[in-house]
Amino acid sequence: MNHKSDVSIPFGLYSKAPDLIESMPGLGKLKNACPKYIQRAEQAQVLARQFARDELYPRVLDIDAKCAKDPEYFDWELWEKANSLKLNIAPIPEKMGGLGWSALDNALMVEEFTSACMGCASNISFNTFGLLGAMVECRTDTVLKIIRMMVEAQRLKKPVFWSWAITEPSAGTDAEDGDAMTTMRPSSHAQRVAGGYRINGVKCFITNGGLANYVIATIPTDVACPKESMATFFIPSDSSGFSAGRVERKCGQKASQTAELFFKDVFVPDENVWEPPGRGLRHTREILSITRGFIGIGGLGIARGAVERGLRYACEKKIHDHRLIDETWVQMAFADMIKDIMTVRLAGINFAIALDTYHVWKMFDTLPVKAGLELLPEKLLLSRSLEGLASKKFLRSIGNRFKNRLVSDGLIEKFVYYGSIVKVAGTDLAVRITSAVPDLLGLESMSHKYGIEKSFRDAKVTQIYEGTNQANRIDIFNHFLNPGDQAIDDRRPHQRIQ
């Protein structure tokens, strides 16, 4: 028994202070070299932590209970609060109306939000699929259009939800893996018609399915050769022939709506083909190269939330003459969890900083983008006339060529590898810790009011979506043995992040 421990929760939901350097002192070197970068991240962490504490934490259990009764329930008040702080468009540059958050800033937000509630977190911070999707091919006019749509909607307090539709009833992880895709049996199909494509089929387990205003869908033009013919389409949900099924009854993450999507002779004009046939897998891999790591950080957040709630419970739980937290075996178990959380946290932060340094976020540090953002007035940046100009053949392809030089196919696969490691580590941690915490606390701790059982329910699916952890392991192993010729920093030194 260790009665001396006077436990006050040192980090997380119960503390207002940022702890980026405090818990990861190795970042001090980076802080010295790039002070603005780390200071901004600390500010982002404070803002996200405050939002999690003040807005998410007090209401997530109520939202969960309401969604259990009615899966279509959505807390619009919470969404409006997040929208008013621009948290749902955080990565968009400040000059264009967003928060200009780096990948690191976003990762810290995801960790804070998911420690309160993974479902609510995905409603707010995972709604940047649209921007990510557009950034892949990076046609200048498309990117400008998507940013304008998102910023305008934010200002008008109008929700814009995106879905990223890959999974099909007959093909789960198959649709995310090059080898598997050669033998997959797609249930959706795009047929070439005059001026575009006609799409038929079904997608399942689609996040935001029932809410989405826009869907980014990967669909093959030849079901016999899905890998060679996979294309990526941008589909407004008011397109004729498009419909969403009922919102699924899930075990957890109930605040985030999941539904089937149905395509019945949906016409997609050529201008909304974001990747031509044969490039769809590349599109998917690039998004995965970013999102898998963020899911890992989400898993980490779930685990952290369970530990923080568990610590509070153990501090308050009296057993005869002592508190539960005074028992040394409980302290040992928590210490082990804290060790694992801190280790995975380092991996997640490292991944996010790598995204800023080498991946698509790097664009914001390049001279042309910096100069454009610096010199062009805000009104022009968000104007349709700039979009019109950018749609000219030459200008529209500039963005594409420029970005492809920065983010090569080899780099994408490298980041799928890095991201998969964080994803498997974070989500396995989530499942293990959310199960282990109640083992310390007892039956009463599984009452809904403590939030721990919700963490337990929320955790399991993180091992499944964004590619099952088994598929992630295949990517980890394959890349480790065949990392390709290009080293991560084998190129001109990038500009310093500031």
Binding site: T167, S170, A171, G172, T173, D174, D177, D179, A180, T182, T183, M184, R185, C204, F205, E248, R249, K250, C251, G252, I319, H320, W329, A333, V431, S435, P438, D439, L440, L441, G442, L443, E444, M446, S447, H448, K449, E453, K454, F456, R457, K460, V461, Q463, I464, Y465, T468, N469, Q470
Partner: protein, 379 residues
């Protein structure tokens, strides 16, 4: 075990499986979403056709007097369709163990509570006992006429629908003696707290039972002192063995679903059962089911060869089987992918149920501590 016995048990198992498939399965998912006491009471009525409620009772109380392992098999079979329903019966069976203990002198109280309704159905019973989940335990004051109980028993299973409470209370005397009493739910000085909202075993309710100067006459005390302690030890072993059996029942279903799905689902160019990793997962699940089943059977087996270091303690069977079942259902969900996380497939319900089973009657790591701490005391 004789061949006749095995045959007899197999028949009971088959009957219980049929009951589970025909009666429990059709409603188990709906009851998980919208629990309704009428459903489980309906099952209770129907289960009388197979004499399930009286399985544990000896002949003197008009039961068949089957040994405890037989009830564990029945629970295992019922848990294959719903762990909540099986838990309902498990708490009843555990109470029956205490009632069965009543000697001729004390049997009147048992006859009285069992026959109170003068109907063909037995009243439902449950158990209230000290464990680390409901600490601080109830306090007991002994008077010449009987016992006075005060305090709260946290999150007792099924006190609302039960008509009989079988209470074990530690006596405040050296030697940790225990009193065991059997009383009616309507006994003066007893009230129920709010229903807890747990994530699993939703077919039954968990509520605090609050005792406020509840006076229990000596007639209702079926065992006390050392005899009570001995009965309590036996009860604990059986109770935890029952929880272990339920966990294994749920694991069997999770495994069967995963196996069937793996044979059907095509991914990465072939049926997923042809992938080595899926075979490894299924093989590991099979190992845990085999070992867990052997473990809980051992907890009920009195005559064993004395292998050094083997305690056959029901708590350990429960700790092992519930952990094994959780790992099995985690893997079963993983094999199903997104479908496993959806309510309709029934696997996520098993996951939630098993997590609550793990915590019934105390925390698994704490059982480990207790077992060694008790051995130290006896050294």
């Amino acid at each position: 075990m004789t061949e006749d016995r095995i045959k007899e048990y197999n028949e009971i198992l088959s009957e219980c499986r049929r009951f589970a498939r025909n009666e429990i399965k059709p409603g188990s998912l709906e009851e998980d979403l919208n629990p309704d006491a009428g459903w489980i009471l309906g099952l209770w009525q129907k289960s009388h056709k197979l004499d399930i409620p009286g399985l544990m009772l000896p002949e003197k109380f008009n039961g068949p007097g089957y040994p405890e392992i037989c009830s564990a098999y029945a629970l295992d079979a019922m848990a294959m369709e719903c762990a909540g329903v099986a838990s309902f019966f498990a708490h009843h069976f555990a109470a029956c163990l205490a009632m069965s203990h009543a000697n001729d002198e004390k049997s009147e109280i048992v006859h009285r509570v069992l026959n109170r309704r003068r109907s063909t159905t037995l009243p439902v019973a449950t158990v209230i006992f000290p464990n680390d989940s409901n600490d601080p335990a109830l306090s007991l004051h002994k008077e010449t006429e009987g016992l006075v109980i005060n305090g709260k028993s946290s999150l007792t299973a099924n006190p609302d629908l039960s008509e009989i409470y079988c209470i074990f209370i530690q006596e405040d005397l050296p030697g940790h003696h225990v009193s065991c009493a059997i009383i009616d739910k309507s006994h003066p000085g007893i009230r129920l707290g709010e229903k807890a909202s747990l994530s699993g075993l939703k077919a039954i309710c968990f509520q605090d039972v609050i005792f406020d100067q509840a006076k229990i006459s000596n007639d209702a005390v079926v065992a006390a002192g050392e005899e009570g302690k001995s009965l309590f030890d036996r009860f604990l072993n059986v109770y935890y063995g029952f929880v272990a059996a339920i966990a294994m029942g749920t694991a069997r279903t999770a495994f069967a679903k995963a196996l069937a799905y793996a044979k059907d689902r095509y991914q990465f160019g072939k049926k997923i059962i042809l992938h080595q990793e899926i075979q490894r997962m299924l093989g590991s699940m099979r190992m845990k089911i085999d070992m867990g089943t052997a473990g809980y059977i051992q907890a009920f087996t009195a005559n064993r060869v004395n292998l050094p270091g083997v305690s056959a303690d029901g708590r350990l069977a429960k700790a092992f089987c519930t952990q094994a079942a959780l790992e099995i259902v985690f893997d079963a969900i993983q094999i199903h992918g997104g479908y496993g996380y959806m309510n309709e497939y029934g696997l996520e319900k098993i996951m939630r149920d098993v997590k609550i089973l793990q915590l019934l009657g105390g925390r698994n790591p704490y059982h480990h501590i207790q077992i060694i701490a008790e051995e130290l005391k006896n050294d």
